[in-house]
């Protein structure tokens, strides 16, 4: 009987003296960006055995990545991303390598040894250089504050504790006859949850570090929050189109990242703090022109992979927000594609209208002429359609589907 009472007391009072369980950072406290300093230096080489082991594992992966066909074969884009990263680090050589990989998802990641992956899906959603810099800064924050290593050590400590707890419960149950497994399970559940809390704390710190780098480099600090505002809006549009309620998957106790809304608010608040402290007339910049110049040549392939995700809500939201900088033939073409593939009641008409608008732009992609041609034929304007298809063949005589288009023309 005494054993039961003791267990219940312990559960209600919380686990005093068990520091491991609540280790981690209070996830709700906003980190002050200016309080952060790098924990590694240029030319850093790990000394501890566990860190060296992690670096060695990453080496193998980096070797494979460097020769992978997922790597974007575009030296201009690769060196641009690398240049911004260097700029953020104040041109100090921390040995961080950046790799842009072809993947339509909005994501970027940092490995323990300073290798950074940036997905093309991220580039598709950036509106200016400051926004890209905000994400690159966040990832640099992970490396400069040694998050991967700390996360590994945290997991090791907590999994060891969980193993010991499980074993102790087994031993105690066998020895005393009462059931100690419920207590063991609640302790271990708290350990598991604390692993996620620790991870979320690190993400908040990386957000703050990114802001610090952003501001020190002269980029608009508000860009970081803007990235999240855009992502949240896109996800809401996607949910609406799928007739679902928007749910933030990171708003969970088992999430490795803080809720998106919270991140946006914290970043916005910290950005305001930073901006209010700037007294000189130096203006923060977003370097939109430089970004648009880089993005223009790759816009077609970025949107092509986005459309293939079959998420018309998100794709149309993205197209409309990019169109704030002005519609182009490429954007109108992909608007048409989004409607055509959605295939709803009036979508054929919408797609036809979009293709018509696309070809009105000089420099519209050849694919727009093809799509416009087929749409015109389908809607009964055979002559206009054939002319458009012929124009497509003129623009792209060695297209893979040239033979098929020619076949259509002789029908």
């Amino acid at each position: 009987m005494a054993g039961f009472l003791r267990r219940r007391d312990v559960l209600t009072q919380g686990l005093c003296g068990c520091g491991l369980v609540v280790a981690g950072w209070p996830a709700s406290a906003r980190v002050n960006p200016m309080s952060l300093a790098p924990l590694v230096h240029p030319g850093y080489v790990p000394a501890d055995a566990d860190e060296r082991g992690l670096w060695q594992q990453c080496e193998e992966f980096e070797y494979e990545l460097a020769s992978s066909n997922l790597l974007l074969q575009d030296p201009t884009v690769q060196s641009y991303v690398h240049a911004i990263t260097n700029r953020l680090l104040g041109e100090r050589d921390f040995g961080i390598r950046t790799y842009v990989v072809r993947d339509a998802e909005f994501n970027a990641s940092m490995f323990p040894n300073g290798m950074m992956l940036v997905h093309t899906g991220l580039l598709a959603r950036m509106r200016n250089e400051a926004q890209l810099a905000a994400v690159l800064g966040h990832e640099c924050g992970h490396y400069l504050r040694r998050h991967s290593l700390e996360r590994h050590r945290d997991l090791k400590r907590k999994s060891a504790a969980a193993a010991i707890v499980g074993l102790a419960a087994a031993g105690a149950t066998g020895a005393t006859g009462s059931n100690w497994f419920d207590l063991a399970n609640s302790i271990n559940t708290m350990l598991v949850l604390s692993v996620y809390t620790f991870s979320r704390g690190q993400e908040s710190e990386a957000d703050a570090y990114g802001l610090k780098l952003l501001a020190e480099c002269g980029y608009m600090p508000g860009a970081a929050a803007a990235v999240w505002a855009q992502i949240i809006a896109e996800r809401k549009a996607s949910a609406v189109a799928r007739k679902k309620r928007y749910r933030d998957h990171s708003a969970s106790e088992y999430s490795t990242h803080p809720p998106s809304q919270e991140r946006m608010e914290d970043l916005a608040a910290s950005a305001d703090d930073i901006a209010s402290r700037v007294h000189d007339s130096r203006e923060f910049e977003d370097r939109r022109a430089e970004w648009l110049a880089l993005a223009a040549p790759i816009r077609f392939s970025l949107l092509e992979e986005q459309i293939k995700l079959n998420d018309p809500g998100a794709s149309l939201y993205l197209l409309e927000s990019l169109a704030v900088d002005g519609w182009t033939g490429t954007l109108r073409f992909f608007e048409g594609e989004a409607y055509r593939l959605r295939g709803g009641v009036d979508d054929v008409a919408r797609a036809t209208a979009a293709y018509l608008a696309a070809v009105a732009f000089t420099g519209a992609p050849p694919e727009a002429w093809r799509a416009h041609g087929y749409a015109q034929i389908q809607s009964g304007h055979a002559d206009d359609g054939r002319r458009a298809l012929a124009h497509y063949l003129e623009l792209k005589p060695d297209a893979v589907d040239a033979a098929m288009v020619r076949f259509t023309l002789v029908q």
């Binding site: 566990d50 060695q56 020895a175």
Partner: protein, 239 residues
């Protein structure tokens, strides 16, 4: 109820070869390249996380390479041991690709021939290939066979050992919680570069052995590669 705790120390190494019925081990004058072995040695921590150790991995890789060289020197014949991708004599990116392809094929063989998920179309056949890429590799480098080797070893940390001891004790009070110790596992495959087919495959699992030492690496290499048997009627392990 107190069960008597039996502390049994089983030191077993098991290997199991699979090959197609038409396979005979290469004889005579053939050119063999042993691709850069993929070795990783780590520490098995108390919580079960295996943490790779760079010094152990480097040591084990060097030892395994040494054992491979010794084995092939003793056999005579024309074997080249490629310590790195560059040494294989082909474009590094292509070699990396081929090694990755082999990892996927090796995993498929393990899954469908060893772990019981038999494929109906491969029930009485051993039919896996690395395809055109391997044939190109053979043509470019003029090797007849390529041998791929993958090995993993782990050793219990002090905390893990303590957990294992405590686990034995918990058995004594009737509730057994057993934590596993470090494990050694490896697989090797022989690819005929004229056809691209995987012609022979062997796996090894052991709870003892230490490839960080020269003797341990020798034992692994001998167990894995020393006794290549001709193909048996498929479905039955050849040794």
């Amino acid at each position: 109820m107190v069960a008597a705790a039996v502390m049994s120390v089983t030191a077993c190494t098991t290997t199991r070869q699979v090959a197609d019925t038409s396979f005979t081990p290469p004889q005579g004058d053939y050119r063999l390249i042993v691709m850069q072995p993929d070795i990783s040695v780590g520490l098995l921590t108390a919580g079960g996380v295996v943490e790779q150790r760079e010094d152990w991995t480097d040591q084990a890789t060097a030892n395994v390479l040494q054992s491979l060289r010794a084995m092939h020197a003793a056999r005579g014949g024309n074997a080249m041991i490629a310590a790195t991708r560059e040494e294989s004599g082909w474009d590094v990116a292509e070699v990396t690709d081929l090694v990755r392809l082999h990892e996927a094929v090796g995993a498929s063989i393990t899954l469908h021939k060893y772990l019981g998920l038999a494929l109906p179309t491969k029930k009485n056949r051993f039919d896996w290939t690395l395809g055109e890429q391997a044939v190109e590799f053979g043509r470019a480098t003029r090797f007849d066979y390529a041998l791929f080797l993958h090995a993993q070893d782990s050793f219990s940390s002090a905390g893990r050992v303590a957990l294992q001891v405590a686990g034995f004790l918990s058995c004594a009070v009737g509730v057994c919680v057993m934590a596993t110790g470090g494990q050694q596992s490896a697989f090797a495959s022989l690819v005929d570069l004229k056809t691209g087919q995987v012609v022979w495959f062997n796996t090894l699992a052991s709870s003892v052995g230490d490839i960080r030492t020269a003797e341990g690496a020798d034992k692994l290499v001998k167990a894995l590669l020393g006794d290549m048997k001709p193909g048996a009627p498929v479905g039955k392990p050849a040794g």
